[in-house]
């Protein structure tokens, strides 16, 4: 059974101010299995980010089903799931999302930002910070930055903090929206090689968006073209 099965998903936005309907994808269906890296491709504005947002409930879907296979192998439709249930899946690390934006407080160090998902689960502070340090190492963030707040970082540094935070729970389903957009070519490749290794060893299901054709070719098991 796939971890994620999207069936006939449709999303439109309505902008009240302009009384305008913005339609994106219609009747979209695809699957993502454990240990698989699936990439969404298609022209800008076609609705790729909206798909990830519908799955993570950062936006609401119109119609269709988003079936997610839980740890006990029961399937839930994420569209029908109450808010509290969705929050629980996020907090437990069943579903993770790394966007291009990182909201952080000026007083929080990178280590604390990365450790946050563990702290939310009630981990002891020292253990959470140790785990965060391991992640930051894996994402090649200079150690001299670990105790500084990401609010002053470069785009690429911030993005790696964001990825480290997103990977710390090793979510069963991970959504990545242009995870390497602010990184140089060499760093992008290293970062993705690491993520691919974890996908394969931990049997994570990953759904991502890349703009770079080379990245799509090198780091996908399957490509879904959105139109």
């Amino acid at each position: 059974m796939p971890i994620l099965s999207v069936q006939n998903l449709t999303k439109t936005y309505f902008v009240h101010e302009q009384e305008r309907l913005v339609s994106t994808f219609k009747n979209l269906s695809f699957e993502v299995c454990a240990g698989e890296s699936v990439v969404l491709s298609g022209p800008s504005g076609v609705g790729k980010s909206s798909i990830l947002n519908c799955i993570y409930r950062t936006c609401l879907s119109d119609t269709g089903k988003i079936l997610f296979t839980q740890r006990d192998q029961d399937q839930v439709d994420l569209i029908q799931l109450p808010d509290a249930g969705m929050l629980a899946l996020r907090k437990s690390g069943d579903i993770g999302f790394v966007t291009q934006f990182l909201h952080s407080l000026p007083r929080k160090s990178s280590l604390e930002v990365v450790a946050q998902p563990l702290l939310k689960q009630g981990w002891k502070k020292e253990e959470a910070l140790d785990a965060a340090a391991d992640q930051l190492k894996l994402f090649m963030l200079r150690e001299s930055l670990w105790n500084l707040s990401p609010s002053t970082f470069s785009g690429g540094e911030r993005q790696r903090v964001n990825l480290a935070r997103g990977m710390i729970l090793q979510p069963r389903l991970l959504l990545l929206d242009e995870p390497t957009a602010s990184l140089d070519q060499a760093t992008s490749v290293k970062v993705m090689e690491h993520i691919m290794e974890v996908i394969k060893t931990q049997k994570m299901a990953v759904l991502s968006i890349f703009h770079d054709i080379d990245m799509i070719e090198n780091f996908s098991d399957k490509v879904i073209t959105v139109s």
Binding site: N53, R57, L60, P82, L105, P106, R107
Partner: protein, 278 residues
Amino acid sequence: MANKVLEVNNVKKVYGSECPDCLQSTGPEHASNICPSCGSIVALGGVSFDLHANECLGIVGESGSGKSTLVKSLYFDQSVTSGKAWFTDQQGERIDLFAQHAAQQRWLRNNRLGMVYQNPHIGLNFDFTVGGNIAERLLMGGSRNYAKIRSSVQSYLEKVEIPLARMDDMPADFSGGMQQRVQIAKALVTKPSLLFLDEVTTGLDLSVQARILDLILQLRYDLDVAMIVVTHDLGVVRLLADRTIVMKNGQVVEGGLTDQVLHDPQHKYTQRLISSEL
């Protein structure tokens, strides 16, 4: 799934002599909370929502939309006209908040609920020392073991990062940000299961705001407490709240996971609120 700490059902608050038109003629679609027939103010026109254990709920909306009226009613600072609010405490007892008599209300305020006000002059007694303010709340809750009270006061001052050396100073000698942190310690020292925060960072410097928000975030992880955060600042709910409801003219126009409400708002009013702020 987590238990419900609070179930609020169809709560109304009308200032003035209610007439049959009051509820139908006010609300977001009328862009007003004043009844055109009788002139009463419908501060709350039937508000409902739930809160789960350990959850943080944000309440946003423009000034006058009824946010403070709602939390003040739940904390017994004022009465409602009608509606129900069920509160379930740590022991699992389900309490009909608006059916409690004065002594029971006092007991709940002193033992189960906490409130942090925008105005520290309401939340703190400026005639007592900072330590005295916090100790007073434990005394009101029935504690008489002075050694224990002293150690609780110290431990909560530490949690809110107030140096113990300043424990015997008066609140008036503290900065606005410190006064808010003392209020937070005072509200939490009784280990309430539900904490209300009404515009607690409004009007403070940005760096002072960040420090308080950081502290609240930390306390959320460390303590078992559900929170309701009232604010007109969307950045505050983005940071603190799991779910958010949006109020306008005394009614809830929409609610959902905070990032969903901010990213894909459904109601016309919420879309305007967000596009005007970001």
